[in-house]
Amino acid sequence: MTTALAFEALLALLLLWSAWQTLATPQMDRAVIMFIVFGLLLTLVWSRLQAPDIALAEAALGAGLTGTLLLDALTAFRQPNRSAKHGRVLAAFRRFPALLALLLLAAALLTSLTRLPLPAVDLPAAVAGQLGSSGVSHPVTAVLLNFRGYDTLLEVAVLLLALTGILAVGLPAERPLLSLNQLVPTLARSAVPLMVLAAFYLLWAGAHRPGGAFQAAAVLAAAAVLLNLSQLQSRWLPTQHWIRLVVGAGLLLFVGIAAALLAGGGLLRFPPGQAGLLILLIESGLTVSLAVNLAAFYLLRTSSSGQWAGQEDSHE
């Protein structure tokens, strides 16, 4: 018992410390590294909290995609790496009221945790009770795609929307760093097939154990990013046109199934008999389109065609 507590306490301290370092270290490079470390520690926390689905998503997105996106953005800032601010103490005092408010908020939040009422609604029991008619046997997947599938539908729209927003912001014309290092292509040759395999495994696993479309898509997207970093795929790089079609098709498939189920009496109302099959269909479609969507966050900005504000791919 005490070992468990010591483990958790140390994990908590490390998490807070890496978070603090992310904000406080003067160099942006180090800040991003500390953030990636933070993501790793957070994966451990989620595992400790018996939330392997979240741990998977955090591991795949945090370590793979977000970190790469952040480092890529730093590369675009071609200027000395240091933060401009040096008079930190002085700046802090100027912002004293805000800091005070934040401290008060922290104190109030921590105090409130000591006197929580007992939940009046027992939702885990409700989920367990209806799990049989949800079409899948893993409760998190049941919530994500059946009980609260509408949230997931909107969430897929948020991802597509973010991609639209990025296109609206405009893409840089230049290509970022080239690699002359032989290590990366070698690594990519062995890792990418494994990653694709892992993605399909996660997709398949989602129905009855932790995993599912999002985690699978994140791993696939990471594979695409690795291919891009390794420069193996220069002939393969999809045009913006195809990216848009695939990403849009995933959302349309989801909306289409949701709307078709209206005939049965409700939006996303899966008939218990076909629920498993329909959820698998949605998840498979989403895996591909979400993977392309996530990868596009990175790949679009490295495609060689493009100008700031209003670019068009050559295929149109």
Binding site: A12, L16, M28, L105, L123, L161, W308
Partner: protein
């Protein structure tokens, strides 16, 4: 103290750290990092509180999965804006110009 409650408390601290970072720091990438810390803190509160009795609750876990995807989307858009801002003005912060814009109508 259950592990759920412990990590909920850690989540509260992360959240405050993150909000402070988004509001008070200058460098845009740093503020985006802070936003991510804030989000992670909230997710920990959500799952930690729900599981404070030690029982697994799939509903907040599914909500956090949704939340993570939403914050990845927001991060990607924010980074694109930060890069565009740098390309337009050579600045990695909002401060200098924005202050003036606020004053002048």
């Amino acid at each position: 103290m259950s592990s759920g409650l412990l990590f909920a408390a850690v989540g509260c601290l992360l959240l405050v750290l993150g909000v402070g970072g988004v509001l008070l720091l200058d460098h845009l990438v740093r503020r985006i990092l802070a936003f991510n810390l804030m989000g992670s803190g909230i997710f920990l509160v959500l799952v930690g509180l729900a599981q404070r009795s030690g029982r697994i609750d799939p509903v907040p876990q599914a909500m956090v999965l949704t939340g993570i995807v939403v914050s990845v989307a927001a991060t990607a858009l924010a980074l694109a804006l930060a890069r565009r801002r740098y390309a337009d003005s050579g600045s990695t912060t909002l401060q200098d110009k924005a202050r003036r814009e606020d004053r002048h109508d």
